[in-house]
Amino acid sequence: MKDKAQEIGKLIAGSLLSGLEAKLNEDINVEGISVGRLIVVDGRENKFFCLLKDVSLEATNEDILLNPPSGDFARQVHAGVNTFYKLSVQPMLITAQNPTDLDRPRPSTTVPPHFSPVCEASAEDVSLIFGAPGITNPEIGSPIFMEVPVCLNLERFCKRSNAIFGKSGSGKSVLARMVLGYLIKSDMAINLVFDMHNEYGWSATNEGGIDDPSLKQLLGSKVAIFTVDSNSPLYRKIRADYDVQIPYGAVEIADLELAAGELGLTQAGIETMYRLADKWGEDKWLAKFLDMDTDEFPQVVEDLKVNEQALNKLRRCLDRLKKLPFIRKEVADDTVNRIMDFIQDGKHIVFQFGRYNSMLAYILVANILTRRLHKLYVDKTDSARADGVDGPKPLVVTIEEAHKFLDPQVARQTTFGTIAREMRKYNMVLLLIDQRPSGIDDEVLSQVGTRIIGDLGDERDINAVLTGLPNQGTLKVLINNLEPRQFLLTGFALPMPVVIDAKDYGKFCSEISLGSGIILDEIERRKTVDELKAQVYGDDQIIFD
């Protein structure tokens, strides 16, 4: 890692609004310069931190383009005179050339003078902007082509709802796992993770088909696993901490509406449900309806003045709920109360679905629990405010497939939409993980504080993730050039947008489990056991089960 910044060009034109332009020095290989790099322009009194947004081929006159030089010698001779490369960079932050400890980089409000040297950012520059790694400022990757930490300011991160977007395989879940791990380790907020694909609990299968350790394994008792399927083979190795059951009474029509697609509900069906709820009671109708024999339907049709066909259809749709045994008539314990107990204990919860990892189960459980939890949080925060005491612990709710909860049709009514919009008024924010951000309501998107954006193939998705951001043109180019495991970070928790190579998960694991987690405990325990055994039986291999 070279510390001295390497000059790669000289500033020749530009504006604050549209960005700066520099001529690449002739001795720099243009193929080594790629978009997304951090660039520093050395002004007279200030350093300007910029992002490289474009590289272009330029010629000083038309003739050379019509009659290109042939041969290496001619190309070499014309380079820098008749032909040159232009770098387009977007200034983002500015700081004094020799900053004192009090100087923080601030948004740039002017431009550097003509011919200022344009350099690649050095390690020092990067740490000046993103700070040194620490427990509340963990390293989550490094700028592309550099090996310097880029840190996420967790304090700011927890103050807004955030999102991780990227197409399948872009590395969202792995990055989310790392962010969550650091959040848990730092105790900046309690985490509630709706883990649709069993990736955030005990272990996660990686591309190679091998199991990587996940949050529970790494952080031990700080993480509790709640499951709707305690009989799943998943829990042979590690027992789930809690068995989630949801009574029919807790299922609201709005929950079912959200899963209308999965249930096959039509508008007529939804109206029929409201009719039933009106007559039989909001918390009783579902149990009663599902219990009913179809023979009794004509009576219902007569009593409630509903359409018989619609009623039959509705029953067929709602019968799907019976395949989810954790939604039942009676339950032993109230899950939401239990969640609150864990939260008060400072424990983080991962909700798993075991063999019931259908979208239907996921939508229902996440929505029902979050809605009730949100109500509780609103009450608690309000009464804490009235009493002048601390409210409930800040909570980050992580949902995969976020568009299912936040599509424009429903976002205005769902709890998730509400949480996203009210920011952290009630100490509750979201971490959205999604591969189809275009399916998410614009208003919600524009409220997202920090966006972590991975490779996105679809133009609509790219436009969606940029909703409400400045410098969209620049950011769009950067997103277009992302590879798997590379992310553009932008927003509230970052001083300026930056493209990173996500930290290697293995590195994260060894870092996070230092001093915590059961792996380490286990290794230690086995070591002693093994030493004992070795003393008795001679050397033997350590075998993990």
Binding site: N67, A74, V77, V81
Partner: protein
């Protein structure tokens, strides 16, 4: 000092005309020469060589005999011929310093002309200003002259490719509004 090659017979601020000594060793096109005048060396670049009859009123006539054979048979014919050459002034030696720009005055008529020493060629061509000078003079075959003199300066440097690249860049820069001209020179110096 090397062998004298001629004597000046006409001068202008930017160029001079000289008559060569004898008919046997005329200076090469694109070669560097110097005139010793007023205690100063003034450098020129040969851009035109011209062999003609001594008497402006009488042209040479064709004899149909090969030149050496003709001179052997009729030696008096050689007496009526002369070689003249023209050189563009590209610099001078000012108290030991080589200046690659025009001297305050041209050399005087009847000053003698000598070929430049190797070191003088190196010094004169180091900053490549001479290319700019010849490009500025009207009526010169600039493309050919620049190429010939650069090739010569390069061979004096043991065919240093870095020098050739530098010269090419200078030409590209100087003639950036005249790409075709630059291109033809560059083609002539890249072999």
């Amino acid at each position: 000092m090397s062998e004298r090659i001629g004597e000046i017979i006409e001068v202008y601020t930017t160029r001079f005309l000289a008559q060569a000594d004898g008919l046997e060793n005329p200076p090469h096109f694109g070669s560097f020469v110097k005139a010793e005048s007023q205690g100063m060396a003034i450098y020129g670049l040969v851009y035109n060589v011209h062999e003609t009859s001594i008497d402006p009123n009488r042209r040479a006539v064709a004899f149909g005999i090969e030149r050496t054979e003709l001179f052997k048979r009729q030696p008096q014919i050689a007496e009526f011929l002369k070689i003249e050459f023209e050189a563009a002034i590209i610099g001078f030696n000012d108290a030991g310093y080589i200046r690659a720009y025009l001297p305050p005055f041209p050399p005087r008529i009847h000053s003698f002309i000598y070929p430049c020493e190797k070191q003088e060629v190196l010094d004169l061509t180091e900053d490549l200003e001479f290319i700019r000078s010849i490009n500025a003079l009207p009526g010169l075959p600039v493309e050919e002259l620049a190429a010939a003199s650069i090739r010569l300066a390069c061979s004096e440097r043991g065919n240093d490719r870095a020098f050739l690249v530098r010269a090419g860049q200078e030409i590209a820069q100087l003639l950036k509004e005249e790409y075709e001209k630059a291109r033809s020179i560059i083609r002539r110096i890249s072999d």
